[in-house]
Symmetry: none
Subunit: 221 residues, 4 copies
């Protein structure tokens, strides 16, 4: 909406910087990221980043805000369209999954941020997260009131879906990146595939969603 407009008004240079920074931060985290590399990937001089955006921390904040804001908007829109608590909950989770899918940088970014105790987390981002969190709080209250859901805290439920999802996303990267580890996990993959009788990567999000709904809903399938 208005934030979108703001983003579109950004100059080509700034856009390229943000994009490059997003990728680099996602790949190697805040501490691992090099301003040099971001500048190179953006095709601009290092000093240009300082001119347009500011220091490394400001750049990081910008990158995080871009994606959390997007997530908040998408979730709000999705949930509004649903009617029953169950449908709203599904919409909430699916919107999260979609965001994570479309922003491959989000998963590692979040994990790292959480892992570091939010040291580099700007307040703007926290507000985005609160906005998202509030939506689920409403859904859970409504579901518990109607008897559709087991009474459960917002945070546990949120994490029950987000935790496995993010972990799984990052594990895929682990398997692809680290040859030594990949080799060791190879045996497991076979078993996993056999368990599901199909490709685990494609099914993982669905499977997690199924389990979380079983945990929350009173009505068993």
């Amino acid at each position: 909406m208005y934030t979108r407009a703001l983003k579109d008004k950004r100059s080509k240079t700034v856009q390229r910087i943000i994009e490059a920074a997003t990728n680099v931060f996602a790949d190697v985290g805040y501490n691992g990221a090099r301003v040099d590399e971001i500048a190179k990937k953006a095709g601009v001089n290092k000093a240009t980043i300082y001119y347009h955006i500011g220091d490394k921390e400001a750049l990081y904040a910008q990158v995080l805000h871009d994606v959390t804001e997007d997530a908040a908007e998408r979730i709000e829109t999705s949930v509004e369209k649903a009617t029953t608590p169950t449908d709203k909950l599904k919409a909430y989770f699916l919107a999260i999954a979609q965001t994570v899918d479309e922003h491959p940088s989000l998963a590692p970014l979040m994990m790292r941020e959480v892992a570091s105790g939010g040291q580099n987390l700007p307040v703007v981002i926290a507000e985005d997260l609160v906005r998202i969190y509030a939506i689920l709080t409403d859904i859970m209250k409504e579901g518990a009131a109607s008897g559709e859901f087991v009474p459960a805290g917002t945070l546990p439920v949120h994490l029950l879906y987000l935790g496995p999802l993010i972990f799984h996303k990052n594990l895929e990267a682990c398997w692809k990146t680290n040859p030594g580890v990949a080799e060791v996990f190879a045996r497991l993959d076979e078993e996993i595939y056999r368990d599901f009788g199909q490709n685990i990567e494609a099914r993982a999000a669905d499977e997690i969603l199924r389990l979380v709904l079983r945990a929350v809903e009173t009505n068993r399938k």
Copy 2:
């Protein structure tokens, strides 16, 4: 057992180094950690670390291995004592929770490692993880065979518990560390406490366990 004996045989110096390194890595991750600081916290010269253990990477491996090996042993022992699949699953999860509780560094360490795609993950650690993973595979197969569990992949179930647990552990740190973020989340906390009518921190692990069991068991309470 024998690994414990090995650990106990370590010299005072090595013990102090490992301990300091564990804390520093947990606090700021691999990239953020400074060998200088680890040495200082251990009360030894920087070169002493290189003499006894090796470079930064070797030190990291040692730290990770110490805790994953411990976890693997604890889980194996716990699960062996249980009989039914449900009890075994509970034992499995509780042993994980205990390990995470006793090693406050484990949660951030794991998140960061996963977030970075296992870039710094030594193969020794991967083997520990495989060992753990194999235990759950057996439990899930047994439970599905006896009809006690819904058929479910090992990985989703593992992550369904570990994901929320680790996330929650780290979030506690976030709340305590970051003043800006803490303030924003303050409102949420109130609601959460009201939902449960008690201290969330104490209940979180239990609540997650309850939900995961609901997700997996056919006979839900």
Copy 3:
């Protein structure tokens, strides 16, 4: 020629770095050289060296290349002007002597490089040396064919002049530098001076040239 032009286009900073590096490498060799000292002597920050040139090895390569390239060009030009094999041979040797004279760093640099088995010798330099070597090969063939020279391998003849020349150049430095050694050699110097009836330093190159020509030429004087 064109390489000269290239060198002249170098910025003041780069020129100062190369110059300082040349001196330091010549004084203490590759292993003994300290990047810090080179930076200090060049009057630039250490990082500036890395910005403009690269790591220590690249700097060394640049320094060596500068002088070997110069030598190759000078020798080629000199030899082209001569006609008979004997004159060409003299021109070849004199050009070498001139280069060694004008680049006081060359002698120690070469000895050290040869002494270390060419461990730090970049391929670019090797190519310069081959270029030089090829010239002598032609001269020797021509001289042997015309009957002016004894048949002799290129390498022995090259070394027959270069070896004593370089050794002598470095020995001068020994005498000047090391007080203990100088004292011991003092007696010898007296005898040497008496043998020649004049200053050895001034005559050394000439004397070596005379002997080498006697060794190679069929026609005795």
Copy 4:
């Protein structure tokens, strides 16, 4: 003689240290040598070296002295057996060649020492060298007096043989060590071998000797 006796009296430990040090210094020079590596190759603890011999510099002096002393003795013995100046000169050169052959470390050691202006050269060594040098001075005087030799300075003649010899010895190492350089020089080797019609390595010392004698003798073959 008496020095030999001294050497034989050295304990096994000291012998092993000296031997290891000789090899290491020859391979990588004084600056490149690591006390750690010498200790390892000698199979003793690093501190043992300090206990028995002293610091790195003392160790270096010991190593150099061992070999120069040996050379001086060998040359004296050889030359004493010869009668004519020509035979004495040959004996002198051959004894040098033998020493260099039997102590593969000597060539690089000398080059490096000379290259560094004798910075690390202990006075004991200088005395050995003077002793050697004095022998040649006598031979040259006798030969010039008898008319067998062209009048020539001791130093030029000494270097005329030693220079090419040492250079050639080290170049062999260059060719074997550095793959990049070896490749470039490959073409030359072919030509050299063709020139001689046989293996250059085996003939090099002979060829150099032949040329030096041609340079010095009045009666050239």
